[in-house]
């Protein structure tokens, strides 16, 4: 006898259906699993057998063959336990055959359905095929976030079988988890002084510009960077689904949230961890996990140069292509990069009072690490000086909520325009109206050597955001001038 169920595999950020065919024949007892399963999938056999017996059903004492199709698509993980078990029950005649459902879930030996990483994929497939999807109760809230998905949360294999057999009505999907509220532990109100950096953060958040901060140790670069998350606009529904897909593809759990992701890889992280990698099949790295959110590179000068060079493509194009022996996949990577760096290894170069102890050759090596083409990706580059002790005693500064409102207003203008300023390209940039005085100022800035030709576009982008923050359609002279102030040579 034959039965078929459907599950899901994440290929890149795409949810691909995996057909699970189960055949039960009369020859002697056996249980085989074919269709490019990896070890974790192959072990499903033992879990499925135990779960079926624990659920009060008989495991067929005959030859059971399970085929995961398409056979050339590699399958990994424990998400296939539930659909395989349902397929076996159906093929053995315990459940109606011809199951038009998507199922994903790991089974425990007592038949409980456990959460998976591909719940968002099950939701996507459910919406696409118009079939209901069966997932663990904890996964239901994620799957329901996909518009059009019909989600049946199931606690156990017995419940799943009963729902399919029609002997038990499906429960409604549990109401979705509340978004984790904006991390109130980080608020701009706690930042004393640093007016330049605060302004840079606001512009970076409003336009999605990459930001580089250079300053001595203890000047508060890390503190400032963490607070960018408190003023970033929330993700749209579609963006939140995208982020969830990437995390699923990476095999990571993240509660479904409209909060932009924040990732801060350490400088000792490997190339595969940051850019993306995988042994045979590509999996997304930190730059993709931070998609639509923020990637914080602390101690930029300590990152190995080859890693920084590898980040150039994702920074510029917003996606990263990873080729491995098994396949080549392009992951979205529209993360906003915030980098912090000491001015030199000892940290005191350019300090007003303390002397830098670095030798000339050390400085040269350090300077080479932060290569020109990489630094050029940063629209905003500022110096963060040590705050004088007296400024630390001052009253609270403007809080994140206030800045957040301005950022959201500026973002709304860009959404209407159809492109975020941080990613605005040449043809669109040329369409932005600039006042005559603004154009003159650009020309003069180049003439006196304050601006290089390649810096012009960056300045125009930042000026666009400054104008948006001011609610003005045309880019004025003052907007250009302010943007130039954020392009310090580091």
């Amino acid at each position: 006898m034959f039965a078929q169920t459907t599950s899901v595999a994440m290929v890149g950020v795409e949810a691909r259906p995996v057909r699970i065919e189960v055949h039960v024949s009369r020859v002697k007892e056996a249980f085989t699993l074919v269709g490019l399963p990896d070890t974790s999938v192959r072990e499903a056999k033992d879990r499925v057998r135990a779960a079926i017996v624990s659920s009060g059903h008989d495991f067929p004492r005959r030859r059971v063959t399970v085929n995961l199709s398409p056979a050339d698509l590699p399958k990994a993980g424990t998400d296939y336990d539930l659909p395989i078990a349902l397929g076996v029950l159906a093929a053995a005649g315990n459940v109606a055959a011809g199951l038009r459902v998507v199922a994903a879930g790991e089974l425990s030996l007592d038949g409980t359905v456990r959460r998976t990483r591909t719940a968002i994929g099950a939701g996507l497939l459910s919406a696409r095929k118009g079939w209901p999807c069966l997932v663990a109760e904890r996964d239901a809230s994620i799957a329901t976030r996909v518009p059009g998905a019909v989600v049946y949360p199931v606690a156990s294999l017995a419940e799943a079988a009963a729902v399919l057999a029609g002997t038990q009505p499906p429960r409604p999907a549990a109401p979705a988890d509340e978004d984790a509220v904006a991390d109130s532990a980080f608020d701009l109100a706690e930042v004393r002084g640093q007016p330049l950096a605060r302004r840079a953060l606001e512009i970076a958040a409003a336009g999605g510009h990459h930001l580089l901060m250079v300053g001595p140790p203890g000047s508060g670069k890390t503190m400032l960077a963490r607070r960018l998350t408190s003023i970033l606009p929330p993700l749209t529904d579609a963006e939140a689904v995208e982020v969830a897909c990437l995390w699923a593809a990476a095999g990571r759990h993240r509660p479904f949230s409209h909060q932009p992701p924040f990732r801060a890889p350490h400088h000792s992280a490997s190339m595969a961890a940051v850019v993306g990698g995988g042994l045979i099949h590509p999996s997304p790295g930190e730059v993709s996990l931070a998609h639509r959110g923020m990637l914080f590179l602390d101690e930029l000068g300590e990152f190995p140069p080859h890693l920084l060079n590898a980040l150039r493509q994702p920074l510029e194009e917003g996606r990263v292509t990873i080729a491995r022996r098994g396949s080549t996949v392009t992951f979205p990577a529209e993360s906003q990069v915030v980098a912090a760096s000491n001015p030199c290894p000892c940290g005191f170069r350019g300090d007003r009072l303390r002397t830098c102890r670095c030798s000339a050759s050390t400085l040269e090596r350090y300077g080479r690490r932060l290569s020109g083409p990489f630094l050029d990706r940063f629209d905003l580059r500022i110096e963060v000086p040590t705050v004088e002790s007296l400024a630390l005693l001052g009253g609270p500064s403007e809080d994140s909520a206030t800045v957040h409102r301005r950022v959201i207003a500026a973002r709304a203008i860009q959404t209407e325009r159809g492109i975020r300023n941080g990613r605005i390209g040449r043809p669109n940039l040329d369409k932005q109206p600039v006042s005559a005085a603004g154009r003159d100022l650009l020309v003069h800035a180049i003439q006196v050597g304050m601006l290089t030709a390649r810096g012009v576009d960056r300045v125009r982008r930042v000026a666009r955001t400054i104008a948006d923050l001011a609610g003005q359609d045309a880019i004025a002279e003052d907007h250009i001038a302010e943007a130039i102030a954020f392009r310090v040579d580091i």
């Binding site: 009072l353 006196v448 001038a481």
Partner: protein, 262 residues
């Protein structure tokens, strides 16, 4: 390597112990130049000012004389090349032994652009600590003025300044923070009578008094737009951050475009 050797140029006979022979690559300065000297371990302030000084002297058409060391020397040489000027480096080793090795390319560019590298030691002589004070006297003797950019009280640059004073050569010094080691030497020189350099225009005026009219009439001034301390500007301002920054950048650009003052 194309090298030449011969009698020292006449300027060097001002010394009570002129070298008996001189080796050089490229050329020898045909007229008195201006020496730019200072510490190897310069601050970013010293580097910036040394570049400004090197550029000013070079674009006025005077030879820039220095020692090809790291720090202040290198900054002055680089600025000379950037301004298409003539730069001469006096070495404390043989002319085929460039020390530090990192400045070898810089030396080649000096030779290739109408300047030269000069030494009183025969080719193959390794650098040694006692040779540097000796070469400082040649730096001084080739110059009509010595500019000390940044130097500690114990620095070799002060030796150059002392030799210059003995020869009756003018000494100029760049003032700096009083609590910074690398400015202690230059501030001391100023207290003892050296001319303090107050800026690019002041430097030009002083040098024209010493050396006479500059060979080149400076054309359009290259970037004078030194970095503005935006943090300081913001601290003093009570207006919104954006406005203050815009104002600072505009006045900076305006200031750089004003025609030169002489």
């Amino acid at each position: 390597m194309i090298a030449a050797s011969g009698d020292p140029p006449p300027q060097l006979y001002r010394l009570h112990d002129p070298p008996s022979t001189i080796w050089w690559r490229g050329g020898l300065p045909s007229r008195l130049g201006v020496a730019v000297v200072g510490t190897r371990r310069c601050t970013s302030y010293g580097w910036r000012v040394s570049q400004m000084i090197g550029r000013t002297i070079a674009s006025a058409g005077w030879p820039v004389i220095s020692g090809l060391a790291r720090g202040i020397d290198a900054a002055a040489h680089h600025a000379t090349l950037d301004a298409d000027g003539m730069g001469f480096a006096v070495l404390g080793s043989g002319i085929d032994v460039v020390y530090p090795a990192g400045n070898r390319q810089l030396a080649e560019r000096l030779v290739a652009t109408g300047g030269g590298i000069i030494s009183e030691y025969p080719p193959g002589t390794p650098p040694a600590p006692f040779r540097f004070p000796a070469r400082n006297r040649i730096i001084a003797a080739l110059s009509a003025a010595v500019v000390v950019v940044e130097a500690a009280v114990t620095g070799g640059a002060l030796i150059t300044a002392r030799i210059a004073l003995e020869l009756g050569i003018d000494v100029l010094a760049v003032p700096g923070d009083i609590d910074r080691e690398t400015s202690a030497g230059t501030n001391l020189l100023i207290r003892d009578g050296a001319h303090p350099i107050l800026g690019e225009i002041d430097l030009m005026q002083t040098l024209e008094v010493i050396l006479g009219r500059a060979p080149n009439e400076p054309a359009l001034r290259p970037s004078m737009a030194g970095p503005v301390d935006y943090h300081e500007t913001l601290r003093k301002s009570s207006r919104p951050v954006g406005e203050t920054l815009a104002e600072a950048v505009k006045s900076q650009i305006e200031g750089s475009r004003r025609p030169t003052g002489h």
